[in-house]
């Protein structure tokens, strides 16, 4: 070891060098560790603050990094689910045509009757991914046919209590009018999918949307509408009792995030409560979909619907307006498959996100781990920044940082696969881990050089 140190020994460049080395040796160890502590903390805080600022300002690089992390996590999601997949019934055979610009209500009715009377047993829930919005999406609401169809749906609820019809922007009209009349309000479920600014695809969908509405007295009310996935899964009514992990770390993780979106030219806001969707089984959902006939009949033999979630919508003939990019996948998927993946997620396959407190805590824990390694190196007295052997120590720190990066990526995988926690900060934490030894080394050298230049004459 001694010979190795000799090998790295730099030649003295000036007369001030021995003095600097002497100072390096003399500087108290505790001070060096404290400086490193401050450096590490500052670095972490700066990176987190920069990340949040960049995300708030929609910087391209930040969006790209976030998207990359999410795509990677989606790719790595385990496909070992605890529950079976929802069944998607493809209604492409009676999809809207230029001559009849809306989905045939008579075919839909026949299809529902067949699904409910399925020999294997009635499904647990049915979601119609058809836009029944009254206004302004005319003619998706068909005044001559829809009231009769909705009355049929209400009566069909005796067999399948969880039967819902899709609505889009007509939620702005409130429950009294979103499906044309207040008696149909209970059927309404929101089917919009968030657009995807920046890169990639939206990994979140709305669980609820809360829209303002002026009451007849002139007061502003806020009405809450469930998404189709939340409605068919009755989320969170049948949520499991939290396990020991959730009881201990519940404050760190959440099932959904809420945010308020301002309405332009108004003082009001729309509140969205969104959740991360597990898209890992979307291809399986598509391949197991069932195509209904042109008159709404089911193929023979009828698929097994018993106690399953059934979503009805267009798969094969979905047009541009109903095709969406999905994280972790290159192709675009029809909206009904997105709702099915969302329902699968809420049906006890929830992906969890870190709360603000949880994110901070995790950032701090990883920073402490990095700092601990660096401190362990510093604790063992070793060469100062300009002394022989210092470079060798720095190399080791860098190698250890790389090991930590692998550990962090491993944690990212464990989080998403075993604990189903969607931790998309892992790239940033890995970056901080890599930067730390380099910055620490650079600052230490710069500090020593400055000290050498400006040290008092008597030292």
């Amino acid at each position: 070891m001694a010979s190795k140190r000799q090998k790295h020994k730099p030649k003295p460049k000036s007369t001030s060098q021995p003095a600097a080395s002497a100072h390096g040796r003399r500087r108290p160890l505790a001070l060096r560790i404290f400086l490193d502590f401050v450096l590490g903390l500052s670095l972490t805080v700066a990176l987190v603050a920069a990340k949040e600022y960049a995300q708030d300002e929609h910087w391209t690089a930040a969006l790209y990094a976030e998207d990359m992390a999410r795509q990677w996590l989606q790719l790595r999601l385990s496909t070992n689910s605890r529950h079976e997949l929802p069944v998607v019934v493809d209604i492409s055979n009676f999809a809207p045509t230029p001559l009849q610009p809306y989905t045939s209500r008579s075919a839909l009715k026949k299809l529902l009757q067949e699904i409910i009377a399925s020999p294997s047993g009635a499904p647990r829930a049915i979601g119609l991914d058809v836009n029944f919005s009254s206004t302004p999406d005319r003619p998706f609401f068909v005044p001559t046919e829809d009231p009769g169809f909705f009355d049929f749906c209400l009566s069909a609820r005796r067999q399948v209590p969880l039967l819902f019809a899709g609505v889009s922007t007509s939620v702005a009209l409130g429950p009294d009018r979103c499906l044309g009349a207040s008696r149909y309000a209970a059927l309404a479920a929101y089917i919009d999918h968030p657009n995807t600014p920046g890169f990639g695809a939206s990994h979140e969908m709305d669980e609820y949307v809360e829209v303002p509405h002026v009451s007849n007295e002139g007061a502003v009310e806020h009405w809450r509408f469930r998404s189709l996935a939340a409605a068919v899964t009755q989320h969170p009514i049948v949520a499991e009792r939290p396990g020991i992990f959730r009881r201990m770390f519940g404050w760190m993780i959440a099932e959904h995030e809420s945010f308020e979106e301002p309405i332009p030219q108004s003082k009001e806001t729309i509140e969205h409560t969104s959740f991360v969707v597990d898209f890992s089984r979307i291809d399986e959902i598509r391949s197991s979909s069932v195509a209904a006939g042109a008159d709404g009949s089911l193929p023979s033999p009828a698929p097994d619907f018993s106690h399953r979630l059934v979503l009805v919508g267009r798969v094969a003939s979905a047009d541009e307006s109903d095709l969406f990019p999905v994280p972790g996948h290159t192709e675009h998927y029809p909206g009904v498959l997105l709702h099915a993946a969302a329902a699968y997620t809420l049906d006890k396959n929830n992906l969890l996100v870190l709360t603000e407190k949880g994110r901070r805590t995790l950032d701090f824990i990883f920073w402490l781990a990095v700092f601990g390694i660096v401190a362990a190196f510093k604790w063992k007295p070793r060469a100062g920044p300009h002394e022989p052997g210092h470079e060798h120590g720095h190399d080791l720190e860098v190698r250890l940082a790389w090991v930590m990066v692998l550990v962090i990526i491993g944690f990212g995988l464990i989080f998403v696969n075993a604990l189903r926690i969607f931790w998309d900060d892992f790239i940033l934490v890995a970056l901080a881990t890599l930067l730390h030894p380099h910055l620490s080394h650079w600052i230490e050298r710069a500090g020593s050089s400055l000290y050498t230049l400006f040290r008092p004459a008597h030292s």
Partner: protein
């Protein structure tokens, strides 16, 4: 005495009937029902309570005056949107909760306020997200309208602009021959229209060879369909041009537009007629007659945006239903 009692009975009977037939206003939502709650609902004016199912009645909308309560030890959650934000979710036990009542008389000012907020909210929702559900496939092509008549001289293909770059392939097929009458590939979907002199020439050639029925084949990345249309005959064209010249002689420009729209509509030139009504509405935007006529014509076109715009204008002008 008997007469006065009879009158009171008639008035009360009438009131009761009207309250049954009228749509009751929703003022609260029954969100969740606890396992031990054994929830029950009482409708206003009825003593018998209905037992509620914990799962089936989750998120049941409550009309004004309806009361929910737990018969057991548990709780249910009621969401009352008109309450202040921190008091919107209420935990209700055995004491019960009655959905707030309100008056049905909506003042004009409140109605205007409602409509404005509805429009703003709807626009904000549209800006953030897109409906992920089955929608009309025809909405993209605005002109020609299915089963309409096309005027070869003024033929322009119009469609709803694509937000993203999309290349289209458009072709016109004759019903009496397998040969293509006209074709254009690699058309820019973001342009929103194709004004092609070649297409017009092809249609005029077609008409000269006595063909009348054609279809436009639309092919984009994920959709393809045919829009059948008929060519305006030479005789009809001559008559139409004469009529249009006559209408132009009217001194009132609004009447001139109405007249032209009438002549165009008569020949199933719906898109052109709808444009005439739009010109007329620029000068008399609140005319209920014009708005309803414009709506009737536009209903025959595929221009859903324009239809929605007219509906909004009809509501805004408080026009009586026709």
């Amino acid at each position: 005495m008997f007469l006065s009692r009879l009158l009171i009975a008639i008035v009360l009977g009438g009131t009761a009937l009207s309250s049954v037939s009228a749509e009751r206003r929703i003022t609260a939502v029954l969100e969740n029902i606890d396992e031990d709650c054994q929830a029950a609902l009482s409708e206003p004016g009825k003593r018998a309570a209905i037992d509620l199912d914990r799962f089936r009645d989750g998120y049941r909308y409550l009309s004004a005056g309806e009361t929910v309560r737990c018969k057991g030890r548990g709780f249910l959650t009621v969401y009352v949107p008109s309450n202040p934000k921190d008091k919107r979710e209420l935990k209700v036990g055995r004491e019960g909760y009655t959905a707030p009542t309100d008056s049905e008389n909506v003042s004009r000012a409140v109605r205007a306020q409602q409509e404005q907020l509805e429009r703003q909210t709807s626009a904000a929702l549209q800006a953030r997200s897109s409906p992920a559900g089955t929608r009309a496939a025809v909405g993209r092509v605005l002109d020609p309208t299915p089963d309409s008549v096309v005027w070869p001289k003024h033929f322009v293909i119009r469609w709803r602009r694509f937000a993203a770059p999309v290349r289209l392939s458009l072709s016109i097929h004759r019903d009496d021959s397998p040969q293509l009458a006209w074709q254009a590939d690699d058309v820019d979907g973001q342009a929103g229209q194709l004004d092609s002199a070649e297409a017009r020439a092809a249609l005029l050639n077609c008409r000269r060879s006595t063909c009348r029925n054609l279809s436009l084949h639309w092919q984009s990345v994920n959709s393809s369909y045919d829009i059948p249309f008929v060519l305006l005959s030479e005789t009809d064209e001559e008559t139409l041009e004469r009529e249009l010249q006559n209408w132009a002689q009217l001194t009132d420009p609004v009447l001139a537009h109405i007249g032209r729209a009438y002549s165009l509509q008569l020949r199933k030139l719906y898109a052109e007629a709808a444009q005439e009504y739009q010109q007329a509405l620029k000068q008399a935007p609140q005319s209920c007659q014009l708005l309803h006529d414009a709506r009737n014509v536009t209903d025959n076109t595929s221009d859903l945006d324009l239809l929605t715009e007219i509906d909004g204008a009809i509501e805004k002008a408080h026009c009586p239903a026709q």
